[in-house]
Subunit: 199 residues, 2 copies
């Protein structure tokens, strides 16, 4: 066996970085290969296809992201948790990969827009999976809040609502890029779900 001349995870990180910044469509395997100091053919050998490479990079991201969201959802009052959750959400698709920042551009895989615009059903599935898991996190938080009397409503419906807003924010971000407006919408959403702040 000849050993691989590059690090699998390094490539995944480099690839995701590019996908995030320039979009899946806008990133070619040549770009990634150049950045990673690897031959394009080697990428095909190691990952099979651009899409498969994207999927692996995406799964990696999804894992990190979920952990960060969970952390945001586990501090203080229910209102604080939801605020932190929405803050992180907005920050995330405004800035880049959760851990290391990537300042300028906004990603789009948060939209699940991959499918139809270049990727197939697996990417859609992966995205759906992430959304489901985030929804479960929020619902659990709401349920716990309900037990503590911080919320009286349907946790499942409210969680779904919040997730929907979350995804909508991603779209608006791409359309307008107006962060203050996004934060207003987020605050308004929390008020709607939990009741106005001053009541």
């Amino acid at each position: 066996m000849r050993p691989r001349e590059f690090d699998h995870d390094d490539v995944l990180r480099i690839a995701f970085d590019q996908f995030w910044r320039k979009g899946v469509r806008g990133t070619s395997l040549s770009d990634i290969a150049r950045d990673a100091g690897v031959q394009r053919g080697s990428l095909y050998n190691a990952f099979g296809s651009k899409e498969a490479l994207f999927l692996q990079a995406y799964e990696r991201y999804a894992g990190d992201y979920l952990i960060a969201l969970q952390k945001a959802l586990s501090a203080g009052s229910l209102r604080k948790r939801l605020t932190a959750f929405l803050d992180l959400t907005i920050t995330n698709f405004r800035s880049g990969i959760p851990p290391r920042g990537c300042p300028t551009t906004r990603g789009l895989m948060e939209l699940g827009a991959a499918e139809g615009e270049g990727l197939d059903d697996d990417a859609r599935q992966a995205f759906a999976n992430l959304v489901s898991r985030i929804t479960a996190l929020v619902q659990d938080t709401l349920s716990a809040g309900a037990e503590r009397g911080e919320f009286n409503g349907n946790p499942a419906a409210a969680a779904l609502h919040i997730i929907t807003v979350t995804r909508g924010l991603a779209v608006l971000e791409r359309a307008f890029g107006d962060e203050p407006q996004l934060r207003k919408i987020a605050a308004h959403t929390i008020d709607l779900v939990l009741g106005k702040k001053g009541s």
Copy 2:
């Protein structure tokens, strides 16, 4: 002047149909040319580029769509109007072009996902424009409702919230394709904005 051998508007309709069904990325000018019985080069001559063609087709769609939304927003009680609005929204990105149905696939330009995944800033702008105009329609409806005592809240904030949900629904639709769930979210949103139905 040699006269054009095809109808400008026919091509626009055919093109949008394909973009809607297969995505912008998934549709080549060859596809459109074949469908329209036109030479590919003629399309470049007439429209300049794939993107320009898309933009024209999109503007056409946006106009029709806005009219349909406005109609939905102008019948009956405020709750009925918003319900009709969300119904049309869901139906729209579930079925196809508003007037003539296109049953199977779901479009994605409703996401403004165009940018980054193949299209540039003009497409983003066009999308942002559509969203703005829809927001204005909803806000006007809410304001009118407020004057009639059917709503007491901030019309601007509520409209923005509804539009955000709307865009989020588009994302969820693409992720899950679960229409009943979408309608539940929509109903829940109306309850949040107007107050629960039975109160």
